[in-house]
Amino acid sequence: MAAATPRIIVVGGGLAGLSAVIKIAEAGGNVDLFSIVPVKRSHSVCAQGGINSAKNLKGEGDSAWAHFDDTIYGGDFLANQTPVKQMCEQGPAIIDLLDRMGVPFNRTPEGLLDFRRFGGTLFHRTAFAGATTGQQLLYALDEQVRRYESEGKVKKYEGWEFLSAVLDSKGACRGISAMDLRTMELRTFPADAIIICTGGNGAIFGKSTNSVVCTGSAQSALYQQGAYYANGEFIQVHPTAIPGEDKLRLMSESARGEGGRVWVPKDKNDKRASQSIPESDRWYFLEEWYPKYGNLVPRDVATRAIFKVVYEHGMGIDGQPMVYLDVSHLAPERQHKLEGILEIYEKFVGDDPRKVPMKIFPGMHYTMGGLWVDFNQQTNIPGVFAAGEADYSIHGANRLGANSLLSCIYGGFVAGPQAMQYAKSLSAAEGDGGHAAEMQRQKEYNNVLLNNPGTENPFRIWRELGETMTKHATIIRYNAGLDEADAKILELQQRYRNINLSDKSQWANTSFAFARQLYNMLELARVIVQGARLRDESRGAHYKPDFPERNDEKFLKTTKASFVNDAPKFEFEAVDISHINPRPRRYDATA
C-alpha cells in the first residue's frame, strides 16, 4: 500500500535540489530537505556569468535546436542526446519562470531580458544578472522554498549531512541516514524516494573553484552502496581562475562574453607593466588560433591553449603559470555588467581589473561525470534519483558555460515529479525497510573513527590527495601518471586506516565530519583516475597527448563504474545519438 501523501527526501539545497523541492511541494508531496549549510549558502551561489536559453531575443535566429547542437558538439558527442534536447526545449520556459520569480535579470532599454555571449556558441543566448547570476537564481528558488516552508509543506534539515541511503531487503531505497553536524546525532529518516542534488566534487582536487562542501561524499557513498558512477574521468578545468592560497577563485567566462581578451606579451622577457605594452606587442593566442570563436572557445579548448602557451611555449607572465585576462579596454557600461566578479578580483588580488589586466590560470571547476541516471533522473538503485552536477547526464565530455544552471533546474524539475510518481506506486517495505541495520552500520563506523588510535592527520591526507589529483588527472593525462595517482590513492587509503582525530568531542566537530567525507573522496578519486586510465583517446576535457584523437569506434561510450570488492569495476554503455550524428569537433575551423 503506497502512502497517501508521498514523502520525498531531497539532499542538497542548491539549484537542482530547490527545483525538485518546489515541484514536489507544488504537487502536494511532503518534502524533507537536507543540507550541510543553510541552503542559501549552497555552492550554486558561486555561478557567475548566466544561464543559457534560446529565447532568440536578439534577432539572430537562435533556436532550441541550435542550443541542442552547440551543447552536444561542445560535449564532444558523449552526452545522451534525448535529455539534452528536452532541456534545451524547456530552456525558454525556465527563464520565463525565473523572471516571474523576481530574478533581477539585466534588461534591454525596452524592458526585455538582455542576453550575452558565452563560450561554445555564436549566439547571444545567456541571460544574466550582472555577474552574480547563480546567486540571484539560488535566492529566487530559496525564496519560493521558504514560502512553502512557512506553509508547512517543506521541512528543512539544515546542518545535517547525508551519510547513506537506507535500502530494504530488495535493494530499494526507504530513506537516508544522516548526521547532525552540531549535536553529532546519527539518525535515519524514512522516505519513499530520495533525490541526490549534492553538486560537484572539487575537494578531491584539493584546490578548485568549488565551495568547501563540494566533496562528492554523498555520490561516493551511494556508489559504494551499489549505484553506478558514470563518466567520472570527465573533469572540467576552467580556463580563467585566480590562483589562491585556499582556493582557486573563478573569473567568469562572462568577462570574455562581454569582450574580455586573453593575451601574453609577445616577448617573454618583456619587463614593461602590462598596460604599457602596446597592442602590437601582445599575443592574443586564442584569437589567432581560433579566429571564428576567438576568446569564446569552449572551456577545454581555452584551458589547453593556456596550458600550451605557458608550458610548451614558456610564455607565462614573468615565467609564472599565468596569462592576462583583460577587460581594461571595455567601456564602463560593459565593465558595470561585470561588477560582481571585478570586485572579487580587486578584493582578493588587490589590483583594479578595470584598469589593469587580470592574471589568471586554469583551475578545476566542474565534474561532467556523476551518478548514472536514466532519462527520468533515476539511478540504478530504485527510489534514488539524482539531479544537477551530482548526476552525469547533459554535459558529455565538456560542459558549455551557462549550461550548468539550466541543467540543474531542468534536472530538478524532472526528478521531483518522477520521484513523486515512483513513490505513489511503491509497495510497503518488509520489516523496518532496513533502517535499524543502516543505523547500526553508521554507528559502528563512527565509533571506529572516533576511537582510532592512529597518527595520521586527515587534513594532511587530503592535501596529498589534492596534489596528486591536480597533477595527474586534470588538463593533461598520461597513463603512467594515472597509474602513479592510483597507487598514491591506495597509499592514502592505507594511511587513512591509521587516522587520528585531534578532536574527539561530540559537539560541532568539523574534523570528524571531514574525516568521513575524506574516506568517500578517496574512493571516488579512484573512479576518476581509473576511468581516465581506461579511456585511451582524447575527448572534450579528457586529453591524453599519447592518444590525441577522439576514437568513436572504441570510446563513444558512457563509462560506468560500480563498486565491487572494494574497488571500481568498469563497463561501457552505448551513447544515445538518435538526433545528431557525431562529427569532428573543430573549433579552429574558420568556415
Binding site: 549549510v37 558561486c46 523576481g102 525564496e143 585556499d246
Partner: protein
Amino acid sequence: MPSTIRVEIKRQASPDTAAVTETFEIPYRPGMNITSLLGEIALNPVDVTGKATTPVTYDSNCLEEICGSCAMLINGKARMACSALVDKLEQPIRLAPLSKFPIVRDLSVDRSVLFENLKKIKAWVPIDGTYDLGAGPRQFPQVQEQRYPLSNCISCCCCMEVCPQFNDVTNFVGAATIAQTKLFNLDPAGAVLAEERLRALSGDGGIQECSFAQNCVMTCPKELPLTEAISDMERDVFVQQVKDFFTR
C-alpha cells in the same frame, strides 16, 4: 613581514562552556587570508606553547565572499574571513565569533534569526505556479538597477552585529530584512504583498527601532544601500500606518 603570523582566537567548546583564548603561530605565505590560516591550524592543531588542541570550528563555504558563511570579528570588526587578507591586518590578529548571535562553537554562531525574519516579511514573489505562464512583466533597466544591489545581500548578518539597536531589548529586525522588503516591494509581481510586508515592519522590533547610527551601511561587505532602503521603507511604513488607521 615576519616569517610567522600570530593569531589569537577566542574559543568556546560549546554554548555552555567558558570561552578561552588560544594563540597560534602560523608560517607566513604571501596572499594568505583568514580562512587559509584556519586551514593551517587544522593541519597542525598545536598552540604557541606547544599544547595540542583541536582544529577551530568556523562556518565557511564559497571562500569568495558570496555565500555569506564566514562572518566573524577580525581585530574587532565584523567582516568575512575569506576576504580578510593577512597582509592587510595588524598583528597579532584577533579572531572572535560574532557577539550578538547564539554561539555554536568557537567562531561559529547561529544566524537563523535572519531567515526567520525573511519569513515574517514574506520575502518572495507569490507566483501562481511553476508551469509555463509565459514571460514576466517588462521591467525597465532603471528598476533592475535599483533591485539588483539589494538582491546582492549575502545574509552574513554583519549589519545586525554592528547595529546598536539589534539586541534583546528592541527585538529590531535589522537592516538586511528591511532591504529585502524594499527589494520585493519593487518587483512588479512581488508588490502584491507590499502592504503585508510594511505591516510586518511596523510592529514590535519594526523599522521604528532604527536609530540611524549608519553602522550597517559602513560595514556591509557587499555595499548594499542599506540606509537608503531603511529611509524608503520608513516612509512607506508610515504611509501604510496612516492609511490603515483611517481604513481598518
